[in-house]
């Protein structure tokens, strides 16, 4: 009995001392923004830096500027553990909180994105999926509440091929080249296939597809065949979580040149390369934002948060790829709120009003400089019809210690991809019986 009591006391003590006010909405007035991070579960190592990036940026706005346009941002986190069912429950729990409900949601999971696409239409809350989720949701006429800025798997796939062409000396040199595609066998991994197929027809390279069953801990057979039999000139990888480090290690073990591997932006974080060890040196990945903590926004975060003891996460993680991706996401959503405030006034806004902000979001180079993210990301402009804004994408490389850019910004072939997106969205609309809205 005494033991039990002791445990109870320790537990409650633990509970009370546990990182106090982190992510809890207070009763005061402000713009509510519900967060769906995964700080626990099998993907927690990648979920935590992202969640900290988002939380830090919002805290920075609250501490430094007093919120957005004087309206404080209230956040509450609900842990999804990267589980779709739990994520849906969290979404339902958070969507109506605060004075006006949640301004937007960042699901950070393909499964959860698909589950929320329909719900957000009913609830009129924007869904911001940066570089993941449903590619054809870039067509705002069919998907009014989903925003896929600044890139999709299709522009990513296109840029990967463009980079290979650059390295080989032009698109005409691609003919006869062997390119392998190793992908997570899930909707996420299969999403870029249509673009690769189209580019294969156009440029005449040989294209071999190697699906990896999730979670991807077992890839011996794939790399044995890839590295010893097919021997591709380049390998593109669409992986996530533990699959990435395993793939890099297996590639090296089978004698495949790691510096000819290009991962998608979800296969290019510090977590992946550090776990793979020394062999990861030279491994490349796509990126739509810069790595590193060299930007003004990082200095501000250090000054206002970490130096004052108010930082959310581990100071060492600031500037890692996934932390920066969290920052990127927070910038997009908060700027959309700011844009919406210009029309609806400086007060807590509803999801529908914030959607207007998203659709009129124009991040000019000047605006990016004001935010302290100049060079961190590309300027872009969202419109009613174009929810993706397809910015240019760069290639980054792991030098053994950190990620560095190795290419310039590469523009995707929008004239080829946009019609594909519209065709796919039209097919979805026909199947669902949705009438695309007019956008002029």
């Amino acid at each position: 009995m005494r033991k039990l009591l002791l445990t109870a006391v320790t537990l409650s003590g633990l509970a009370l001392s546990g990182a106090g006010d982190l992510g809890m909405a207070r009763a005061e007035d402000g713009q509510f923004f519900g967060l769906l991070p995964y700080r626990t579960g099998p993907y927690a190592p990648t979920g935590i830096p992202f969640a900290d990036g988002v939380a830090d940026y919002i805290k920075l706005l609250n501490e430094r500027d007093g919120g957005i346009g004087g309206v404080k941002i209230l956040t509450e986190e609900c842990d999804t553990a990267y589980n779709t069912d739990k994520g849906v429950e969290c979404y339902e729990r958070l969507k109506g909180k605060g004075p006006t409900g949640s301004a937007a949601f960042i699901p950070l999971s393909t499964g959860l994105t698909y589950a929320l696409i329909e719900r957000t239409v009913v609830d009129k809350i924007p869904l911001s999926t940066t570089g993941y989720g449903r590619t054809d949701a870039g067509d705002g006429r069919v998907f009014p509440y989903v925003f896929t800025v600044p890139a999709s798997y299709w522009t990513g796939a296109d840029v990967a091929i463009s980079y290979i062409a650059q390295q080989e000396g032009g698109f005409d040199k691609l003919k006869g080249k062997k390119i392998a595609f190793v992908h997570h066998d899930s909707p996420f991994g299969k999403e870029p296939l249509p673009v690769f197929e189209a580019l294969k027809q156009k440029h005449g390279f040989q294209f071999d597809v190697f699906p990896v069953a999730p979670p991807g801990l077992e890839q011996k057979a794939v790399w044995l065949r890839l590295a010893r039999q097919v021997k591709p000139d380049w390998t593109i990888m669409w992986g996530w979580g533990v699959m990435n480090a395993t793939a890099i290690k297996e590639a090296a073990a089978n004698g495949y040149k790691v510096d000819h591997m290009i991962g998608v932006w979800w296969s290019g974080s510090d977590q992946d390369t550090i776990a793979a060890g020394d062999v990861a040196k030279g491994y490349k990945s796509l990126a739509f934002h810069a790595p590193g903590a060299t930007f003004k926004v990082h200095a501000d975060i250090k000054k206002h948060l970490y130096d004052a003891g108010k930082g959310v996460g581990d100071p060492a993680a600031v500037g890692t790829v996934l932390y920066n991706r969290g920052l990127f996401n927070a910038v997009v959503v908060t700027e959309a709120i700011r844009t919406a405030q210009e029309k609806y006034g400086k007060k807590p806004l509803t999801g529908e009003q914030v959607r207007w902000g998203f659709e009129n979001l124009n991040l000019t180079p000047e605006r990016l400089a004001q935010l302290g993210v100049e060079g961190f990301m590309q300027p872009f402009k969202v419109t009613c019809a174009d929810h993706e804004a397809s910015t240019a994408i760069r290639i980054q490389e792991w030098d053994g210690k950190a990620w560095k850019f190795v290419s310039d910004w590469i523009e995707p072939h929008r004239d080829m991809i946009r019609p594909m997106i519209e065709a796919s969205a039209a097919k979805f609309a026909a199947e669902k019986g949705v009438t695309p809205r007019k956008c002029d």
């Binding site: 509970a15 990182a19 006010d21 499964g111 329909e118 719900r119 449903r134 999403e191």
Partner: protein
């Protein structure tokens, strides 16, 4: 004192064979139905309906299906997720191929398709038993999910393998899927289907076929000697179980998820449903519901708990506490009553009949 059947005389066979022979039970179940059909959709918020009640009902239905196979017929199965996927994709293919077909007919047919596949994967049960059968059914789980991922025809050639459910109505304009529908209608629809199927399951287990299943479960050789055909009994259990799982899967994809991919029916869901019937009670209809409530509702309650108590904890701590408490409770209930919550309920009832004068 209040729960006593003294004075309730049964004057006909029908009365003696009733599902609920005790009047208090009948009143209780009637009350539950009134609350479920009348009060819950009126009072329940959108959050309660769409994230607690609908998953609870659909998991109950799947658990009911597995309970028929594992609890009543004694055939251990880990293929539940696969059969659910079967039902979901059959329903998707049917409703996109024949948009005019009523959703109820689609559901029924998708159950039939799943039943057919269930019979196919039930064939090994004629030769192998116990854990070996569990492994054989595991093959169906992996094979079916793989099949739906691999063959693009099942997803109507969707490039990413995710299908989205078109809006469908039951009668006229009462939509149960898609954006026109409301959580209350979805809930009532799920509740109606689950009620009808639960009643059917209860009656099946009380008639000849259910007795055959139980005979096979308790001792298959003895059952064979007294004239029960194992082929018939085992395969019918597989068929009916898969029918239930198929309908549950179709509803899960159609009214809960709204858009789904094969991995929504992965091995996790099979384990989850197996745990539900183990915790709820093998061979009990009530147990399926109790188990589903335990596995679905309790974690949500636990994760909402600290905030409701006014404690401000970090997100990760709330999540960890939830997992710890949940695991602890599973251990607690399995130690207190290894036969599941349904048995606990039965013991409670026995005690209640003697209360306040136990001897």
């Amino acid at each position: 004192m209040i729960y006593r059947e003294a004075g309730q005389y049964k004057t006909s066979y029908a009365a003696d064979q009733a599902i609920f022979p005790i009047r208090q039970d009948r009143i209780g179940i009637a009350l539950i139905l009134v609350v479920a059909f009348g009060l819950v959709p009126l009072v329940g918020s959108q959050y309660v309906l769409s994230t607690i009640m609908i998953p609870f009902l659909l998991y109950s239905l799947a658990a009911l299906g597995l309970n028929i196979l594992t609890g009543y017929a004694g055939q251990l199965s880990l293929g539940t997720g696969g059969f659910m996927a079967c039902g979901a994709f059959a329903a998707y293919k049917l409703t996109t191929a024949f948009p005019g077909l009523n959703i109820l007919i689609v559901l029924f047919l998708s159950g039939v398709v799943a039943a057919g596949v269930g019979i196919l994967f039930g064939l090994p049960s004629l030769r192998i038993k116990g854990f070996y059968l569990a492994v054989a059914t595991l093959a169906s789980q992996f094979f079916l999910v793989w099949l739906f991922t691999k063959v693009a025809w099942f997803t109507n050639y969707a490039s990413s393998g995710v299908v989205s459910v078109p809006p469908r109505a039951v009668f006229g304009s009462i939509f149960v899927t898609g954006n026109e529908s409301t959580p209350a209608i979805k809930y009532l629809f799920a509740l109606s289907v689950v009620s009808v199927l639960a009643l059917a399951a209860k009656n099946m287990t009380r008639c000849s076929i259910g007795r055959q299943w139980m005979a096979i479960r308790d001792m298959d050789i003895a059952a064979e000697i007294i004239g029960i055909r194992p082929l018939h009994a085992k395969l019918s259990a597989f068929a009916i179980s898969s029918f239930y799982c198929g309908v549950a899967g179709a509803l899960w994809g159609f009214i809960y998820l709204g858009g789904f991919e094969p991995t929504a029916f992965n091995i996790d869901i099979s384990f989850k449903i197996l745990f539900m019937i183990i915790i709820g009670g093998l061979g009990s209809i009530l147990g399926s519901f109790l188990g589903a409530a335990f596995i679905v509702v309790l974690p949500i309650a636990l994760s909402n708990g600290p905030a409701a108590l006014g404690l401000h904890l970090s997100t990760a701590l709330v999540s960890h506490l939830e997992a710890m408490t949940f695991g602890g409770l599973i251990l607690f209930f399995l130690i207190v009553e290894p036969h599941g919550l349904a048995r606990l309920w039965r013991i409670g009832k026995e005690k209640l009949r003697l209360w306040p004068f136990p001897y």
